[in-house]
Structures are given as C-alpha cells and as structure tokens.
C-alpha cells in the first residue's frame, strides 16, 4: 500500500507541476511539454511510466480490497450503535474517496488522453493540442464541477494517505507526529489547489486558447 | 499436634543461608517429571509460577480473572520497600527487620522477617531487569521515598501504580514461560477443593467459570497464592472478586488458619455514599502529610465545612497526639476517626466521615505545589464524589484494606499439610498484627521469586509421590463435595440475593469485628452469624444453572465460605484478650487509650484447626520468641 501510494503521490505531484505550465506567459509552453512527453524519442519512457502507473493503481486497489477484507474478518459482527469519536474524517472515508478518484481518472483519461468525451485537437501527428483540449474541456461547467469534486476528495485521500504512509513506513515518533500530520495536510492542499486552479482559471476566462 | 515452625536457630544473619544449605535439591533432569499447581497469579503466585517454570518444573497456574495480569496486586499504589540504603540515610537489612517486627506489634516470627528484609534487596534488582519502570532521579538512579511514617527512604515506586508495574513484570515472565510451554495457564478457573491423598496435598478440584465444568488437576505439590480475605466485610478496598474460598476449603481439609482476627484498616478511604455502594476506594496515605483531619466540635453540626469557624473545629489527631499529629499510624488514625463518628460528630450525609482539609496547606504553599503533590489524587476524589478538594475539604473514612491473618505456614512456607504451600497475603507469615505500608508487595515477591523456589525442592526430593488418577476415591470424594455445594446452592431457590446476605454479614463484621472490638460485641456476632448463615442456606436465590457462566453462583460459593471464616475471626478476636496492631479490644487499652499488649499470655500465633461442621475449632499455639527485637510499648504522643 505504502509503496503504491508513494508512486501515485509522486505522479500526481509531477502531473500537477506539468499542468501548471498552462499559466506560463508562453502560450505554447504546455504543448511543448506535451510534445516533449510524446516525442517518439521518449515514447518508450512514456509507456514505461504508464505501465508503472497502471501497475501501481491496480496494486493499490488490490491492497485496498485486501484491507477491507481483513477489516470485515476482524469484526464479523458489527455494533448496533457505533459512534465515531471525533477523529480524522478523511481516514474513515478512504474507501469512498479512493474509488471516486479512480472513476475520475478513467473519465479523465477518456477526456484528455483518448478524446472519447470530446474530440481532441492535434497540432501535429501524435502531438495533442493540450492547451486547446484543456480549455475547451473546462468550458463545460459539469466537467469542471466533476473535476473539482474529484480534486477535493483527492485532497482528503492524500491528506490521510500521506500521514498514514509515514506511519506504515515507520517514519514516526511521538514528538514529530503533529509535524507529519501538518506536512501531509499542506502537501495535499497544495496539490489539490494546484490542480483546481486550472479549471477555475479557464472558467474565469483567465486562461483562453 | 504440636506446631514446628522449622525456624533455624543461631545468628539471625546467617539463618537463611544455613537453612538453604540443609535443604535437599532436585536434580535438574528430574524437575521436568514433577508437576506443581500454583493457584493465584498475583505478585506471589505469578512470580512463583514463573520462577518454578524457569527451574524446569511443570506448572499449572490458575486464576479466576480472565487474565493472570488482573490479580488484585495490580491495585497496589504506594510502593515496595527494600533495604538498599541507596540514600545512605541509615537504612539496613537489620533496620527493615527491626521496623517490621516492631510495626507488627511483636506478633511475627523473627526468622521470617529477617529473611524478608534480606531478600528485599534482590527483589528490586530482579524487577528492574524485567523492565519495571521504577521512578528515577534526573541522574538516572532509582528514586525512593519514605512511606507510612518510616524515618528512612526505602520505598521504591512507579508513579501511583507500583503494584501494577511489579505485577506486569511477573506476568510477563509468566507469559514467557507459558509461551515456552512450561506453564499451562487456566484463567477464569476457580479452585473449589483440595485433593488429599495419604495425608498429602496432591491436587485441586476446579470449576471452569465459562462452561461450569468441574475438573480435577493432580500434582506433586500445591501452592496457594490466593490473596487476602478482606471482602468478608463486603465493603473493602479489595477487588470485588477477592475471596477466601481456596484457603478456606484447604482449611476444611486440615490446613491451620492463623490469626484470622488480624485485619488492617486503612484510614484514608473515600466514604460510603449509599447502600448501593459496591466497594471502597483507597486514597494514598501521603495525603496526611499536608491535610489536616478534623470534625465539628458540636454533635450533628450540619453546616457546610467552610462555614464552621476554627474555634468550632476539633483537629482531634493534633490535639491527642501533639508529636505525630495527623501522621499517627494507620490503626491509630482509623480508630480515632471511628471514635469521633461514634460520638455523633461525623460529617457528610451518613455521618460516617471526617474532614481531611487542605485549606491551610493551600494557604501556606499555594495551590500549585498542592496540585503538584496530590493533583492525581484530588482528581480521583473529584471523579468519584463530584466535589473539588481544592474548594471543600475531602471526606474520608477508614476501610478494611489488608488481612495479616491467613494459612499457617512454617519457615519453608509449607502449611501443616505436607505438600501444601501458602505464599503472599494468603499466608499469615511476616506482618504479625499489623503490616507496614509497602511491605505486602515485598513479601509477595520475596515468597514467590526467592523463598518458595528454594524450599519446595526439599519436599519434592524427600517425598514418595506415587501417581494418582481420577479414579482415586479421594478425587471422587473431592469432586462430589464440590458438585454438591453448587447443586445445593442452585437448588435452594429462596427469596434473597447473594449480595443482600453478603452486605448483612459485612455490616455485622464491621460493627463488631472491625476497627475496635469488645468481648460482648464479638459474642453478639458469634450468636448472630450462625443464624444468618442458616438463613442463607435456606433462603438464598441463585439464578441460572451450573453449566454456564454464572456470576451469582460464583458469589454464592464465596459468601458461603465468608460466613464460616467470619465466625472464626470473631472467635479468634474473642480469645485474644489483648490489643495489638490491627486487633484493638476496647477492654485492653492504656490509660491514654492506646493498644495494650499482653505479652505474658498472648505472645503466640493462634493457629486454628477445623473439626467439622458445627464443631468448635481447635486452637494450637505457636509461641513467639524475640531474641533480637525486644517487645516494647508503641507510643505516638
């Protein structure tokens, strides 16, 4: 779990940074980046990355399913009345936020990678006009809404995920726990805000084609 | 029958060594072939079972709780004594020995007490090695405090949870052996009878408290570490489950019961708040260091404490004991509280409480220092009573806390029944008529870690112990006896609950065999108890069946035994025409109201033998000699 979580986290971080290039004064920047990613010379690397990513997601999900199995085995009979004492809400909803994020990812790939949602514009062979695609995509408030929702869940998922990750990997000590918690929160929020900024900017018309 | 204490003679410093040298050993290879039953997993039983298993014996260990770690020892707060003299304040093995004999009001065996003081030193080492987190100084050295009015700092402690931490040490050692397969643990299992074959203890009959199954277990020796019998009073600081059943059923098989009337009362407990009260909670004695004890001068003065001006307060301890004041020993403080309450000057709704007031201490030292010293105790008090001791004085009252009496044992900790041993609070050995604070933990661990494992070999090495099995008539008889008792109790189907009888017995004992006793009071109790006991056997209502978890049935069996023990306690108290330690007979006091011993006629251990239902028990006397510490009158004026 920890390992896959780490990979996934790494990806979203990188991905977010990639996305933020849309704000660069050079309107071509994002496309250049995409082009660079898709450049035939990097193709092998790209696919490698995609495989690792796919593997991580699958592994991650498998692990999550195992966790929930252990959980139900460990308490076959539930409580008639159970109050959740105030502890991290994110922690208890990992099993919800996770799948929704996964669903988002699928939609998202269909949307911006395969173009199944709306046709993608290419500036050249195997050179998506990412800027156009993103902007056009986010002109649709429903798409944007779903994106934003997903990002918020992702934020929660990452918040608990990261802190939990440190615990699982034994990066803990009574003294630092609070620090770790806040760091996780900050990272999660940064990522979420970073992502959300794009659709919002588009809606607000700050970023145009 | 005459009592042979087997106490060695000669210079007291070397008695234990010379005695040990005289004992036979069991060849390590043969230990495996011997099984020893240890009933009880408190400090005494837990440490004994673990140590005997380390030596190579097969151990069967029993407790009635769901885990060996829950034995009542867990509740001990204050600390454990040891003559380490780490503070160079004049302590020594000899001084601990001296203080214990004197504190016991000269009713204990010098040889045993000296050995206890010698061993106390090794106990601390052992516990530290096990990982007991004793309090430390900033330097990293072990910290000590002085406790229960001792003039030297010899008490080791782990916060307010010394008993818990020492027990966890023994428990972990025990679990280690269980993991190694050398100990078979039987939790939620109650010993209900002793199996005797050819005059030797060869096993026990138990009831599985979950399934109700009656089972027999055989062994080459049986060790009882089943704790004290303070719950005879119903209300005590003991855990709800603490009982005398194991010891008492052994007594009925012939084991002598010594000094049953020696019970200890703790002066600072939280008073009873209503008739639903189920147990009493002890507050550390240390409170008396800064708190001042008082009651109103006027009878039945119902004003709130803070409305009562100093002129109308009676700080009776300071008045009567100018030199010791509020720090007089437990029995003295307790008795005086009872006296003022009997005069009708007690406080609180029940009128059975006195004030322990921190007003002046707070004024003198400031709230912070007081919070620093007693914060957790004040919290505990507020949690239970809902009152804030920083604002209103605490209400306290004495409660039964410890029982010095128990099964008679010789220097080897063996009862008069060959092969039956008693350790810890269950035996009578080391505390005489009054136990010093922080000495029970010491004794339990001394018995279990160091004494018993050395003495038990001698018996096993020197006895012919043929195999026995379930078919043996003695086994059949014991099992029948146990089944009969349960069946009878379940069959009565009367109208009163077990607790209602236990409460009534407890009240009776508290009133007539409690803090202070009189001949006619004890006589009255002796006349009343049998009637109440008969009513119990006619009218008790035990619901449910025998073949299931049945807490009413468990209680009923224990209360049945308490009834019989109660009678013996009163009888013993009536025989002992003197006041000593915890046994205060109003007829025998000095002109200024202190306990008056009668060494000429009562310097002996009273060991009672069972002679059958209804028959008067037989009294055997073990005379006590004092070669080193010479009897003197205690005075705290």
């Amino acid at each position: 779990m920890a390992l896959t979580g780490l990979i996934l986290f790494g990806y979203v971080l990188a991905h977010m940074i990639g996305n933020l290039q849309i704000f660069s004064p050079d309107r071509g920047q994002l496309n250049h980046y995409a082009a660079f990613l898709h450049a035939s010379s990097n193709l092998a690397l790209l696919w490698l990355a995609r495989f690792i990513l796919l593997g991580a997601v699958i592994w991650h999900i498998v692990a999550a399913v195992q966790l929930s199995k252990i959980k139900s085995d460990a308490r076959p009979v539930g409580y008639v009345k159970k109050r959740d004492v105030p502890t991290s809400y994110a922690a208890r909803t990992m099993m919800w936020s996770g799948p929704i994020i996964a669903a988002f990812v699928i939609f998202h790939i269909l949307h911006l990678t395969t173009g199944a949602v709306l046709p993608l514009k290419e500036v050249g062979a195997n050179q998506p006009d990412v800027r156009y695609n993103v902007v056009s995509g986010f002109q649709n408030p429903f798409v944007t809404g779903f994106y934003i929702l997903a990002m918020v869940l992702l934020c929660m998922h990452l918040y608990h995920g990261l802190w939990s990750l440190c615990q699982s990997l034994g990066w803990i000590s009574p003294r630092h726990n609070q620090k770790i918690k806040t760091t996780s929160a900050v990272l999660a929020i940064v990522i979420c805000v970073g992502f959300i900024s794009v659709p919002l900017a588009v809606l607000a018309g700050l970023v145009t084609y | 029958m005459t009592l042979d204490s087997k106490s060695p003679g000669g210079p007291i410093e070397t008695r234990w060594d010379r005695h040990r040298f005289g004992l036979k050993l069991v060849n390590p290879a043969n230990k495996r072939k011997h099984t020893i039953i240890v009933v009880g997993t408190g400090l005494a039983g837990g440490s004994a079972a673990a140590t005997l298993a380390e030596l190579g014996y097969n151990i069967k260990s029993f407790c009635f709780q769901d885990s060996p770690r829950r034995a009542h020892s867990i509740a001990a707060q204050g600390g454990i004594n040891a003559a380490k003299n780490y503070h160079n304040d004049g302590d020594s093995v000899y001084r601990l020995f001296y203080d214990t004999v004197k504190g016991g009001d000269f009713r204990s065996r010098e040889s045993n007490v000296y050995r206890l003081a010698q061993i106390s030193v090794n106990i601390i080492d052992q516990c530290v090695a096990q990982g007991v987190p004793f309090a430390r100084e900033y330097s990293g050295y072990l910290d000590n405090r002085s406790f229960g009015g001792a003039q030297v700092s010899r008490t080791f402690y782990a916060r307010g949870q010394t008993g818990q931490q020492l027990l966890l040490g023994a428990y972990q050692a025990l679990e280690h052996q269980i993991g190694q397969g050398r100990v078979k643990m039987y939790p939620r299992t109650e010993m209900l009878d002793l199996i005797m074959v050819d005059g030797r203890a060869r096993g026990i009959v138990t009831r599985d408290l979950v399934t109700g199954r009656i089972e027999s277990h055989f062994a080459d020796a049986v060790v009882l570490a089943t704790g004290g019998y303070g719950n005879v009073y119903y209300l005590s600081t003991n855990a709800k489950g603490s009982n005398c059943t194991a010891a008492w059923r052994a007594h009925k098989r012939g084991a002598l019961f010594a000094n049953p009337c020696f019970t200890q009362i703790h002066p600072t407990c939280i008073p009873v708040s209503g008739d639903y009260q189920s147990k009493l909670t002890l507050m550390s004695e240390s409170l008396r260091n800064d708190g001042r004890v008082w009651v109103p001068v006027k009878k039945g003065d119902k004003r709130a404490p803070n409305q009562i001006p100093d002129a109308e307060r009676d700080y009776y301890l300071e008045r009567r004991y100018p030199s010791f004041g509020n720090l007089v020993p437990r029995d003295v403080a307790s008795r005086n509280a009872k006296m003022v309450c009997d005069e009708g000057r007690g406080v609180g709704e029940s009128g059975l409480a006195v004030y322990l007031d921190f007003r002046d201490a707070i004024a003198r030292l400031g709230v912070d220092i007081i919070r620093d010293r007693y914060g957790n105790l004040f919290e505990m008090y507020e949690r239970i009573t809902g009152e804030d001791p920083y604002q209103v004085p605490m209400r306290i009252y004495p409660a039964i806390h410890y029982t010095m009496g128990g099964l008679w044992v010789d220097y080897n900790l063996m009862t008069n029944i060959p092969g039956l041993y008693a350790v810890g609070e269950a035996n009578f050995s080391d505390h005489g008529a009054n136990r010093l604070g922080a000495s029970a933990l010491m004794q339990g661990l001394a018995d279990g870690y160091f004494v018993l494992p050395n003495t038990i070999n001698d018996y096993i090495a020197s006895s012919k112990l043929p195999k026995i099995d379930a078919a043996h008539p003695a086994v059949q008889d014991a099992e029948r006896n146990v089944t009969e008792i349960s069946q009878t109790l379940l069959g009565i189907q009367g109208s009163r609950s077990v607790d209602s009888f236990h409460r009534e017995l407890g009240k009776l004992m508290w009133d007539y065999c409690g803090m202070s006793r009189t001949a006619e009071g004890l006589q009255h109790a002796l006349n009343t108890i049998p009637a109440l006991r008969d009513q119990f056997w006619r009218d008790v209502r035990v619901t449910g069946q025998g073949e299931e978890l049945n807490q009413s049935l468990e209680k009923a069996g224990r209360v049945a035994d308490f009834f019989e023990l109660a009678e013996l306690m009163c009888l013993d108290g009536l025989y002992r025409n003197e006041s000593c330690g915890g046994h205060f007979r109003e007829e025998f006091q000095t002109s200024d109201g202190e306990a008056a011993r009668d060494d000429a006629s009562f310097s002996y251990v009273a060991a009672w033998g069972y002679r059958g239902p209804g028959a008067a028990p037989e009294l055997l006397r073990e005379p006590l000699e004092f070669e080193y510490v010479h009897p003197a009158q205690r005075s705290y004026k």
Partner: protein, 229 residues
C-alpha cells in the same frame, strides 16, 4: 433519575443474542455505572430473571477487567475513564443507553457483555517480555535509565489491557495495545536485546489472532482510558 438501558443479552457463545430493554428507576447521581448495573441485576434476580453478566474486579480503573460499549463508545462518554470509574452524574434523567460487548473476531462473546480477551495474553507470550531468569539480575542501579526514558516507559506501561482500543477501532486492530508494550520495553535499555524479535513475534501473533490491521484512524487513542498514544 430514570435510565433506560438496551443491553446485549447472549446466553453463551453459540446463542445468537439480541438487544433487550430495561428500565432502572431512581438511579442516584453518586452511583458508579457498574453500581447502576448491580441495582438492575438485583431487580432482575428479584424477578427471577438471569442477571446481566459483565466483567469487573478492582472497580477503580486499574485491573482492566471492565468495559463495554455505551452508546457506541468504548467505556462510555467521559474520556480517560474506565467503565467502573464512570459515574451516573454524567447522565441525565430519561437517558437511553445502548450497552454492547466489545466486538472483534479475536474477542469472542462469552455471555452478555463478557468477552474472551485471552488473545491479549497470547500477544504478550509471543514476545512482550524481557527474558531474565530469577536471580540473574545485577544491582538495580547498575544500569542507569534517564528520567525521561523511565517516564516515557511508564506512560506506555500504564496500559491496562482493557481492549477498548480494539473494540473501538474500525479495523478491530490491536496495534495500540501492542505499541504500548513495545514502547514500554523498547524505551528501556534492558529491552534492547530482544527489540526486534519482540515486535516480529507480536505482529505475527496478532495476524494469527485475526486482529485487523491498523490504518491509522486514531479512534483507539480517543477512547483509551489510560491515554496511551
């Protein structure tokens, strides 16, 4: 005051069990929670019904014997308090309380509110100790322990093995209980040699006992009567 109780009644391990409703009239605010149950049981006995079975021994918060879920919270609503230390003044007239036993595969119900916690002992037997045979110990002051370490060890050693952490954990994990023991022995120099075998042994045993795995939810700490962290 009057208290309405819904209590889990289950004759034995094989029985299915159900919630039953009881009323306890005129409860005094000074009663402890368990004394309130005593009163209920007295009335049940008077009606010739089987009293509610519940564990308790010391009744002062140190033995770890007592405990059940009160309205879905282990040991009831007051933090840092065992069930036996809980007093009725924290409730009000007419309150409805749901009492259920600890629920975990590793803690099978024996009867009513009584569960079998022997799995906790087996966890200790699997490594929660320091191996030192009686008599082999050096002088107590031979090995110095910094005060702060001794204090930290004591904090962890305060665990009373009540099982509330397991009962409350959504995963029924015993990790707080184990962490407490590991921290207790692991912070002390005496505990170093067996440090790793201890953890491995206990973790393996926890799996075998079917305790859940910890996903750091933190409800255990919230209900631990001894403030284990």
């Amino acid at each position: 005051m009057r208290i309405v109780l819904h209590i889990w009644r289950q004759r034995n391990a094989s029985d299915k069990g159900r919630m039953a409703r009881y009323e306890v009239p005129n409860v005094s605010e000074h009663m402890s929670f368990l004394e309130m149950l005593d009163v209920l049981n007295e009335s049940l006995i008077a009606r010739n019904e089987d009293p509610v079975a519940f564990d308790s021994d010391c009744r002062e918060g140190i033995c770890g014997m007592c405990g059940c879920m009160v309205n879905g919270v282990a040991h009831g609503p007051v933090p840092g308090t065992t069930l036996c230390q809980l007093h009725m003044r924290h409730f009000k007239d007419g309150d409805e309380l749901y009492l259920e036993p600890w629920r975990a595969r590793a803690f099978p119900v024996i009867k009513d509110l009584v569960v079998d916690r022997r799995a906790f002992d087996r966890l200790i037997a699997a490594g929660g100790y320091i191996s030192v045979s009686t008599g082999s110990a050096p002088d107590g002051n031979a090995m110095l322990v910094p005060k702060k370490d001794a204090d930290r060890a004591m904090d962890a050693a305060a665990c009373i093995a009540c099982g509330a952490c397991v009962a409350m954990c959504p995963n029924a994990s015993a990790s707080l209980y184990m962490a407490a023991k590991v921290a207790h022995l692991g912070t002390l120099p005496q505990g170093q040699p067996e440090r790793n075998s201890r953890v491995l042994g206990m973790v393996a045993q926890a799996k075998a006992e079917m305790f859940g795995s910890c996903t750091n939810i933190g409800e255990c700490e919230a209900v631990c009567p001894k403030g284990i962290k």
